[in-house]
């Protein structure tokens, strides 16, 4: 590890902690009230799930329209676990999230192995169908609480928990994508035949990428349950999957920072639109269409936004300004 890398890490960690400290302070002094806090937490969950979808769609290039299903699996697994056991909060939280992720990952594997032989839109429809099957199962299975929902989940997720969960997931994804494994996944999106011809086991990496994506979506689902305390199977429908899809495309397929920005932007735009009540959804739809027409590659395309670079540029500027 050279110095540049180490200093990069330090800068990143500092930035992460500073942002956390600021937001945390604002919550403490109630500048960020419960309401905004809630939006931030939800945005965090959206970031996690959308980022996982970005892995499957933006990087691996597979049309996945059933991420709400993986989320649901994660959510119910984590919630049922936490309801069943009686352990310290953080143990239950972490174990619940991991279990939720694992269960979603297992389902990702089961559906992924056959489905990933299909291409493009066919894969899309299979994942969509899978999501629907999960939703129907949750309505009908004996242990999920049915239509009335699963109640009595402990509230373990607050701003702090979700913030660091987002940090961990994003850091993981960045590290994963910028490695040989990530490059293998990217090459499949670009040209599967060529990838195979330079020695990439494409089937393996497709399934692997998909399972990792499902795992993270499951973790996101778990977090949703721990925040909301009640799970409603109706929530995990096709339109919910679509919401994440919109975030991914809007942010830029293949840009994690784009996903983060889009998730935050959409969360706040959505809330802002409540002020026009009746017209809200019409405007939302129009916004979406217009954004796509003018920015078909999403906000960031495949580029990543770097705070450090921005800060560097900024600090250079201020230095120059200070000089005179």
């Amino acid at each position: 590890m050279d110095k540049k890398v180490v200093s990069g890490y330090l800068k990143n960690i500092t930035a992460i902690m500073v942002v956390y400290a600021i937001v945390f302070y604002l919550i403490q002094i109630k500048v960020i009230n419960n309401y905004y806090n809630g939006i931030l937490i939800l945005a965090g969950i959206y970031i996690i799930v959308a980022a996982s979808l970005n892995l499957a769609t933006g990087y691996l290039g597979q049309l996945a329209l059933g991420h709400a299903g993986f989320m649901a699996i994660g959510a119910y697994t984590a919630a049922l676990f936490a309801i069943a056991v009686d352990l310290p909060k953080y143990v239950e939280l972490v174990a619940g999230l991991i279990l939720g992720g694992l269960m979603a990952g297992i389902f990702g594997l089961i559906i992924g192995i056959p489905a990933l032989r299909l291409r493009g839109d066919y894969l899309g429809i299979v994942t969509l169908g899978f999501g629907e099957i999960i939703r129907i199962a949750l309505l009908n299975l004996p242990f999920t609480g049915g239509a009335a929902g699963l109640k009595g989940i402990p509230r373990y997720v607050n701003f702090t928990e979700i913030y660091f969960l987002v940090v961990v997931v994003i850091a993981f994804l960045f590290a994963f994508i910028r490695s040989r494994h990530g490059r293998a996944i990217l090459s499949i999106k670009e040209d599967e035949i060529a990838a195979e011809s330079v020695g990439i086991p494409t089937t393996f990496y497709k399934v692997y990428g998909f399972v990792v994506s499902a795992f993270i979506a499951g973790v996101g689902g778990g977090a949703l349950g721990f925040y909301q305390r009640i799970l409603d199977p109706k929530k995990f429908n096709f339109m919910f999957s679509v919401e994440f899809f919109i975030i991914v495309v809007l942010g830029g397929m293949g840009s994690i920072t784009g996903t983060i920005i889009a998730a935050l932007a959409l969360a706040f735009i959505n809330e802002f639109l409540y002020s026009i009540d009746e017209l809200r959804l019409v405007f939302y739809a129009l916004t979406l269409i217009i954004l796509m027409i003018f920015k078909p590659d999403g906000l960031l395309g495949r580029k990543e936004f770097s705070l450090i670079k921005l800060l560097n540029r900024f600090s250079k500027k201020t230095k120059i300004e200070n000089a005179d």
Binding site: T57, I125, I136, I246, L281, A285, L288, M292, G298
Partner: protein, 293 residues
Amino acid sequence: MAQFIQQVINGLNVGSIYALIALGYTMVYGIVKLINFAHGDILMIGAYFGFFALATFNVPFGLALVVSMILCALVGMTIDRLAYKPLRNAPRISALITALGMSMLLQNLFRLLFGAQPRRMPAVIALKRIEIAPGIAISNLAIITILLSVGLMLLLEFIVKKTKTGKAMRAVSEDKSAAKLMGVNVDKTISITFAIGSALGAVGGLLYAINYYQVEPYMGMMPGLKAFVAAVLGGIGVIPGAMLGGFVIGLIETLTKGYVSTTWADAFVFGILIIVLIFKPAGILGKNTREKV
């Protein structure tokens, strides 16, 4: 036994409506390569047009159908011009999102315009049940629906396979610039595609609304999704496939409800879709053409 045959008839009736909607889906997909998620909402619009024609202006059913088809064709073409045309060269997923946006827009626009309350579709076709055997009956409406969907499928197949416009459509679907070099007006061809697809949606919508008595802004979502599944099951882009897929889905759904479980019926439909695709990755009638390397 009588009950089983009755269930099959029920299934065919449901299936024929899915088939009608699936035809429009498959047509647009086959040519523009766009999963037009707004197609279900075109169905809703068609139903509303039909509703107003029938309930407000009291025109005869045939005329209402034609008016609704023409208006929907215009709506379809306009949507294409405004929302999809600017994205012809953009990544396909962006167009997909636009289609989803369009779907949301139409639903909510119609909710604003005409309210969320469902409206009762007038019973335009005097409902008759024709007893074909003891305990087995089929309604005249079901017969009309089934015949109409088969007829339109044949017409569509003829248009795409045998006419010049159809040939242009297929050329456009493969390579737009090459089609241009052959003298094909790409924009016009795509417009026609949307017009036909949407007109079919209108037929589907009107029949759906009559079969299920009401119109409301969100009525297109579920049949739209099912029809899409039907199109994929049959082999998306393949016109007879859409028809077949529609009937298969209708049958599976009805028979599952009749004999297995009503609550799991949709899960069965999707489950069977998944299984079929695993063994026939391009759908029942789709050809799995491999890319030549």
